[in-house]
Amino acid sequence: MRIKDGLKIRDIVGERVVIMQGKAGADMTRLISLNASAEWLWNDLQGREFSADDVAGALVARYGIDAERAAADAGAWIDKLVNCGAIEL
């Protein structure tokens, strides 16, 4: 999987936000608000292919959390971004 090209994190209202533009007249625009760890993962993984294990591994390396929690957090991060259309499988 990979993060879709052309998406950019913006600073709006003090929040770190990614704007997912909808197709004109057919879809809704979505705003993805990223917390610090979600933003870090985004920046670390953008522009390359990665797996769920890569995401979990990155969280373990960065935050020193245990593997089980990292896998759960990675799954949640991926699910949300896939649902928003920000990650291509």
Binding site: G6, K8, R10, D11, I12, V13, G14, V17, I19, Q21, T29, L31
Partner: protein
């Protein structure tokens, strides 16, 4: 605060402050924004969009202290529109680069008018909004159209005497047969010839490789941008973005413009008063350093700004409504016509018709190179 500023509405004042901040990267005047509620902010954002400066004003807004920034929803919606502007700019840039490359393979040079060339002068180029890609192929308009057709252009919107319009990859492309509207207004014939002379004498353009996007030199743009803005003022609508273009262009080209040549061209076409008013407005309302401006006489800038910032209803609806709105628009331009048509609008039309009757070829001859 001047009398002029007091006559402006609060959204107009807020917008001008945000735009100045956006183009010069300076802090907005905080006092103007204190106590501004959601409705006022929405009016300001809406005015910014109508004036073609939504993304630039967004940059200015982001420089305000958080406690006087607009409510969250207003910011998010404004951010989405800014994101859209950036995406359109990226697509326009890609199309322009592709066209230059394809035309270059045929040995056709492509000059990009307005758009990206001006966007480069803005702190964030992608925030200079543009509706189309304007290209000039140095007299090869017809071949350009054939190539565009081979490339799969879609939706040819029409051909007028100045340019052809078509859509390529979702981007509107205006392929200019002539630089200005020589067939409709007689002053443009003189200015068009002057612009062609400037292009001819530009050694940098002559030696440039054919597969790269070419941009006009400052002497060209000084006349072209002013004429373009005045044309909009007279026949369509001049918006704040065009005033920003002129301000940023003058600031970026300090000492590099032949102001004498420009003023001669304006005088020859009796546009000096109109052009001076635009320059004076850029100084007074956008904060252009007067040392960067061509010499200008003091003019009624407040009237010009009212004209630029006025809210205009869209001319749509039943035939009766369209006729009514057009009539209203015509009479609301009573200030503009003497300014941009100093010999009288009817006089310009008459002289133009007379010239075309005398030599019909003038009405449809593409620029020859």
């Amino acid at each position: 605060m001047s009398k002029t500023r007091r006559a402006m509405t609060r959204p107009q004042q807020m917008l001008l402050s945000l735009v100045r901040s956006g183009i010069w990267r300076s802090a907005p005047e905080k006092a103007l924004f204190e106590g501004a509620g959601e409705e006022l902010w929405r009016s300001t954002a809406s005015l910014a969009a109508a004036q073609g400066v939504g993304a630039i004003a967004f940059d200015g807004m982001a420089m305000l202290p958080p406690d006087i920034q607009p409510p969250r929803m207003v910011q998010l919606e404004w951010g989405v529109r800014t994101d859209t502007a950036e995406r359109i700019y990226a697509r326009q840039t890609a199309v322009a680069e592709e066209l230059a490359s394809v035309f270059g393979q045929e040995g056709i040079k492509m000059l990009l008018l307005k758009g990206m060339g001006l966007a480069r002068l803005y702190p964030v180029p992608a925030h200079r909004e543009s509706g189309d890609v304007d290209i000039y192929l140095f007299g090869r308009h017809g071949r350009g159209e054939e190539i565009l057709a081979e490339m799969g252009k879609a939706n040819a919107h029409g051909v007028n005497l100045k340019h052809s319009e078509s859509t390529y990859k979702g981007i509107l492309v205006e392929n200019h047969r002539t630089l200005l509207d020589v067939a409709t207004l007689s002053p443009d014939a003189y200015l068009n010839a002057t612009l062609l002379e400037i292009l001819d004498s530009d050694a940098e353009l002559s030696s440039a490789p054919a597969d790269k996007i070419l941009f006009p030199c400052p002497d060209f743009d000084m006349i072209f941008l002013m004429r373009h803005a005045l044309m909009h003022l007279g026949t369509q609508e001049m918006v704040l973005r065009q005033l920003c273009d002129i301000a940023l262009f003058l600031q970026a080209n300090r000492g590099a413009i032949d102001f004498d040549g420009y003023r001669r061209a304006m005088a020859r076409t009796r546009l000096t008063r109109a052009a001076d008013t635009v320059v004076a407005a850029a100084v007074e309302y956008l904060g252009l350093d007067p040392r960067d401006a061509p010499p200008y006489a003091g003019q009624d800038t407040a009237r010009l700004m009212r004209e630029i910032l006025s809210v205009r209803p869209k001319i749509t609806g039943s035939p009766a409504r369209v006729a009514w709105l057009r009539t209203k628009k015509f009479f609301s331009k009573h200030y503009v016509y003497p300014l941009v048509y100093p010999g009288g609008y009817a006089g310009i039309v008459w002289r133009t018709v007379k010239e075309k009757l005398a030599d019909p070829r003038k009405a449809c001859t593409p620029d020859k190179r």
